[in-house]
Symmetry: C2
């Protein structure tokens, strides 16, 4: 049992023993694979029925979980031939980042994650090694260890991550505490991940973008950064300020709608303030409406949408520079509308139906 | 944020609105299904990006996770026709019980679980309702809430549970602390779950057993009891005693072998002391060797195998009555052998290869 600061993930341990693609899970057996993966975990945390760790005194525990499925959230493609459509390192990074983003959205800092894997017997062991390398690369930025997990056979490659974090009770960020008059802050830019996906899937798209712009957008999709930097910044500015918020994993509009629903309020978003990625500002590959749709509904940017008093919001934006913006304000009327600079609505109120429906 | 004792799972909320079998996940959509399942969770814990809870001061946090896959760990069979081979309530109970058993094996008490579900769009919603009813039925025995989770689409019904618990640091049960001379205690009986499975799968088997005996064995398989009663008992007897141990989810022999490997010791198990279920003592459906194999390698009994000083072991067995036994002792020679009452080995040392290999 250790303080979390003493843990160190063992990055790239596995790359020392690069495997050919034709060594499969079934060739190793469960015990050997477990021992292989335990090298990615701090030795003092694994090897028992459960991992033990200690949040700092006075901190509350935060827990969140996500499941990722081959063919739904990523694509191994012809994985058995060693040619996978999505890089396993990216799958690992994104899986870890999505969970750390949920912690950031609660105002928390990470203690670690658990990883459960459902594996077809024909999964190349190298795919799993690289998955873990991707997770650890993301986790190491935040000194968060892999705390253990489970392996089992499955017809479909499935990854389930649970992240644990800690937060001081009075610094929790909840969805339900937005108040009329709050400024709405979006960190980062939105729609970049959606554009990155388009670049990866459709080689004909975005050809007029510079290579640098293309890389920034692809990176936004493949290596999103959880905004764990935001809670300490808020604490610096005002450690007692009430902040409502959530992350924008399901899109900017979804986040605003969820916060408004949980808080019993509405919101006005100013179209001219939408956080459009620089790379997309002058593209001919999108109509203006398509661009706005990607910013609002693209999803997977893993930024934070925060509602807080205007003066605090302005200080936060000042600290973050161009990578944050006040995009609207909370109002009493329980609709979320997009408006022009004079406050006139542009079209019908936003709704969740325009977003992604996982079972449709 | 609440103390865990204030949480109350909402048992059978869903049975108030019994569904026909032809309402499928795809008919509801993610939001509606989420709202339906949130009724099984304490309202103060769900609805945000993550759940927040507080272990008691001085306690360490314990975390464990398991993945269960349709066709591997349970069988929905013709689930889309409403005729499933494994009852979803049993799947839920066993999934929760397996995770709580890992907490008991660490000497911990539960704080709650998270549940991630990968769902084919054609999954009947009633199957999911009953899965949650089974989980909650098991959790309510131990006042442990469902803390939240994740839903996603998947070609294969997949369930991932992470359990959180708390333990006083000096009352942790580890695999690595067994010492030469320790008595080995098995709680409960072993092989009962394996026999229950045989009764369920093979209607020709065990016909000479009384109906009561058959029910006890089936119950052992379908509704195993995590031994969360053991850590408080040990604390009563001697709150400072060193206890090594783990649960017997992968079999009695596996547990002894894992403890010995982690502790760098060996063990002698006395064949005459093996914890055979009463119902199987005089059955004609098994040879003596088959019976011993089931007791040693059957698995899924979710009992505890504990190594501790003989005097403490005797007090524990006295408290537990016939539902516990001293079955052997820890020795310096790093093999695990089965012996007769005079200590003479019966056959070759036990090995993990005789147990279940998940990827074979």
């Amino acid at each position: 049992m250790r303080d979390r600061r003493q843990h160190k993930c063992l990055e790239r341990t596995m790359s020392d023993t690069l495997l050919p693609d034709d060594i499969f899970v079934e060739d190793l057996g469960e015990q050997e694979l477990l021992q292989r993966l335990q090298q990615f975990c701090p030795a003092e945390l694994v090897g028992d029925d459960a991992a033990v760790l200690t949040p700092r005194p006075g901190y509350a525990l935060v827990v969140t979980t996500d499941m990722l499925v081959d063919g739904v959230h990523f694509a191994t493609g012809a994985a058995t031939l060693g040619k996978w459509t999505t890089s396993p390192r990216d799958v690992g990074w994104r899986g870890a980042a999505a969970n750390l983003s949920d912690l950031a959205a609660m105002g928390a800092q990470p203690l670690g994650i658990t990883v459960s894997l459902g594996l077809p017997p024909q999964t190349p062991v190298r795919w799993i090694d690289e998955l873990y390398e991707g997770m650890v690369a993301c986790l190491n930025v935040h000194q968060a260890p892999i705390l253990g997990g489970d392996l089992c056979r499955s017809p479909i490659l499935t990854l389930s991550i649970t992240a644990l974090g800690e937060v001081l009770p009075d610094q929790q960020i909840l969805r339900s505490t937005a108040q009329v008059g709050d400024a709405i802050v979006a960190t980062g830019r939105h729609g970049a991940s959606r554009a990155g996906l388009e670049l990866l899937l459709n080689p004909e798209w975005g050809k007029e973008l510079s290579l640098q712009a293309q890389n920034i957008l692809k990176q936004a999709h493949q290596r999103p950064t959880p905004r764990l930097d935001i809670p300490p910044l808020l604490e610096q500015i005002d450690s007692t300020v009430r902040v409502a918020g959530m992350d924008s994993s399901d899109g900017l509009a979804d986040a605003v709608l969820q916060i408004c629903r949980a808080s019993g309020v509405g919101a006005v978003l100013w179209q001219s303030r939408l956080p459009i990625p620089d790379a997309l500002r002058h593209t001919q590959s999108l109509t203006e409406q398509e661009l706005i749709d990607w910013v609002l509904y693209g999803g997977e940017d893993f930024e934070l949408i925060l509602c807080l008093p205007l003066t605090i919001a302005e200080m936060l934006v000042l600290k973050l520079g161009p990578q944050a913006a006040i995009i609207g304000q909370i109002v009493a009327d329980p609709a979320v509308i997009l408006a022009d600079d004079s406050g006139q609505p542009l079209g019908a109120p936003l709704s969740l139906e325009q977003g992604f429906q996982h079972f449709s």
